[in-house]
């Protein structure tokens, strides 16, 4: 095993493979910044170019690309308030407010550092879990997967930051919206109104762009200033290093959220978009200053930033070990396996163990290269926040429209984006939780699928499974803690007002 680990390193740093890795990082850097064009699109576009490459070079190129798209997607979330990927939407909540008050450098530094550490954690988990992964994944059945979605939904209450009632409404409304489309059980059309494009439901990309980017654009248009406004910005480089230091100051949060990301990535079908919100909710709940969340809390960047990147390592585990893709990106990566004549499964853990171990090094080095490139151009990237508002708005308008359309090549998604943009703008103005709504929307089809599987297979006996009970306790505890926090907060406020 150690020999395969070291051989994997030697294979990764071989000149040809390293060149393709760096090329993939550069391509992924550009694609990740464009909203709607994240990991899955990057792989889909570049996969044909890997036909003539060796297996090692091919995966170096593709994994280099995938490693970096999560990181660069966070940069646009912070600087422009436009999620570069749906998995980077959480960083809009705290990263963009920091950019608006002139702390873009600090936010970018924290994002880059937490992304790097999270990615390395995910790679480490991939490396050590290979001997143990099989029993772990096989022990989780549909009841456990359903309960994990419930745990994710209870974080809806926590994401309300002060008003659990509104957050619960937003989250459950998101669940309702998530049911638009064909019923997976009976193929009944639900709330499609005869529109063909709605048969697959609302796309996550146009919804994320509409809910998070459009309100920021409307606000920027109303203000008429640059993103940083009149804020006296900390010198970009000083802010960057401060952000990096902040990440190490919150090292324990990084480890916990990286573990959350790796675990969520490990579970097939949950999707990467869930990891960031669960990590965000966890960071909020464990923070000593929860009132800062949503207004520029550094923990609101460090938590989801590390989870966002650690999930890639985690999602490689079921992909390589079982051929079960841990995410949409991994589903496309399976195409690369087929192209190279590889079969995910025991072969990858035995005869091709060296190649599997080289994946670990590709993630490690790919993220290191991405962060190095980002730091090199960070000063220029941060200057975006000083550009005149209208000039930024026209670029953002192009990005959001192309992003919304490109996800499924459907113009209906542009309409969806605009509708959710109007809803998101109203929610921001009235202090309703957009995060809760999108989390409900993401989890609805997953929860419904696993609920039906659980009932079909186990009747109602699945409620007595030990892990199900443990997860239920976690969910209830989270709601109780938040409720107590809100009641105490209101009591405090009433005393101060007297």
């Amino acid at each position: 095993m150690i020999e395969a680990f070291l051989q994997g390193l030697l294979d990764t740093v071989a000149l040809a493979n390293l060149t393709f890795l760096l090329l993939g990082v550069c391509v992924g850097f550009v694609i990740g910044i464009l909203p709607g064009l994240g990991g899955p699109v990057a792989i889909a576009l570049m996969l044909p170019f890997t036909f003539d490459m060796t297996a090692e070079a091919s995966f170096a190129f593709l994994l280099g690309m995938v490693s970096v798209t999560a990181t660069t997607g966070e940069l646009t979330s912070i600087l422009l308030g436009v999620p570069g990927e749906p998995t980077a939407a959480a960083l809009v909540l705290d990263g963009h407010p920091m950019a608006k008050r002139g702390e873009a450098g600090r936010a970018v530094g924290a994002s880059l550092a937490s992304s790097l550490l999270g990615a390395w954690f995910g790679a480490f988990v991939l490396a050590i879990s290979i001997p143990f992964v099989r029993p772990i994944v096989l022990s989780f059945g549909s009841p456990e997967f359903f309960m994990i979605t419930i745990v994710g939904l209870t974080f809806v209450a926590i994401l309300g930051t002060g008003n659990m009632h509104k957050a619960l409404i937003a989250g459950w409304f998101g669940l309702l919206l998530g049911m638009v489309g064909l019923d997976p059980q009976t193929a009944t059309q639900r709330y499609t109104f005869g529109v063909l494009e709605l048969w697959e439901g609302f796309g996550i990309v146009p919804v994320a762009i509409g809910l998070f980017a459009i309100p920021e654009m409307v606000e920027l248009a109303a203000r008429g200033t640059s993103i940083a406004g009149n804020a006296t910005s900390v010198g970009a480089l000083n802010g960057l290093w401060r952000g990096i230091r902040d990440t190490f100051t919150h090292w324990w949060l990084v480890i916990r959220c990286s573990a959350i990301g790796a675990f969520i990535g490990l579970l097939p079908g949950l999707g990467g978009a869930v990891a960031q919100w669960i990590a965000y909710g966890h960071a909020l709940q464990t923070s000593k200053t929860p009132e800062e969340f949503g207004h520029g809390s550094i923990e609101g960047i460090v938590g989801p930033g590390s989870a966002n990147n650690s999930k890639e390592g985690g999602s490689l585990i079921p992909t390589v070990a079982f051929g079960i893709p841990g995410s949409a990106t991994m589903a496309l990566l399976l195409g690369a396996f087929v192209l190279k004549g590889l079969t995910p499964g025991p072969e990858m853990l035995t005869d091709r163990l060296t190649l599997t171990m080289s994946f670990v090094w590709m993630i490690v080095l790919g993220n290191l290269a991405a962060v190095a490139i980002a730091l090199l151009v960070a000063r220029q990237i941060v200057l975006v926040t000083k550009v005149r508002g209208p000039l930024v708005l026209v670029v953002m308008a192009v990005m959001v429209l192309v992003g919304a359309f490109s996800a499924r090549n459907a113009f209906a998604d542009v309409v969806v984006m605009l509708v959710f943009g109007a809803l998101g703008t109203a929610m921001v103005a009235l202090n309703w939780s957009r995060a809760a709504l999108i989390l409900g929307l993401i989890l609805a089809p997953i929860a419904e699928r696993y609920l039906f599987l659980s009932i079909s297979r186990y009747g109602w006996g699945w409620l007595g499974r030990p892990m199900v009970i443990a997860l239920a306790v976690v969910a209830i505890a989270a709601v109780v803690v938040q409720a107590r926090r809100e009641i105490e907060g209101r009591r405090h406020k009433a005393v101060e007002n007297r």
Partner: protein
């Protein structure tokens, strides 16, 4: 005369009412479906209806009792500023919709160039030079994305 705080609460109630109406419609629709199709919508919709009804009731009671909104009562000056910002925001929203319609009719590339020039010149009052440079740059970007990167962008209904 409505106080500013009344207006904030009323806006909140309007959004809550929107969610209430959507939920009621969703539940009514679900009753016509096969049992397996309607279980989950009902399981979600009924609690949601309860949640939003209780929220609306709380807000209406608060409105009748004191008219107190969450947070401090904004001053008249702040209200005026909000109205100005709201108009600017709505105007930008209209431009965004116009850009989307233009993209549908003319294609992403042409709409990017034309709408950018018009928005920067007419709304943002930028110079002709800046407007044309930005419009050309974005048009070029669209062409690069579609021709070189291979991204399939909507070509528009008009055959150029």
């Amino acid at each position: 005369m409505l106080r500013a705080s009344h207006i904030v609460t009323i806006r909140d109630i309007v959004l809550g009412l929107f969610i209430f109406l959507c939920t009621s419609f969703a539940l009514a629709e679900a009753l016509d479906w096969p049992t397996r199709s309607r279980i989950f919508p009902l399981a979600v919709g009924v609690p949601l209806l309860f949640l939003v009804t209780s929220y609306l009731a709380r807000r209406i009671v608060a409105l009748r009792r004191t008219g107190a909104a969450e947070g401090n009562d904004p001053s008249a000056k702040e209200q005026d500023a909000w109205l100005v910002d709201a108009v600017k925001g709505l105007r930008f929203g209209a431009w965004l919709i116009a850009y989307a319609i233009g993209s549908w009719l003319l294609g992403f590339a042409a709409a990017a160039g034309i709408t950018t020039v018009l928005f920067l010149r007419l709304d943002a009052r930028e110079s002709w030079k800046a407007s044309v440079i930005m419009g050309s740059a974005l048009l070029t970007l669209m062409i690069v994305l579609s021709e070189l990167v291979g991204l399939r962008l909507h070509a528009g209904l008009v055959n150029w």
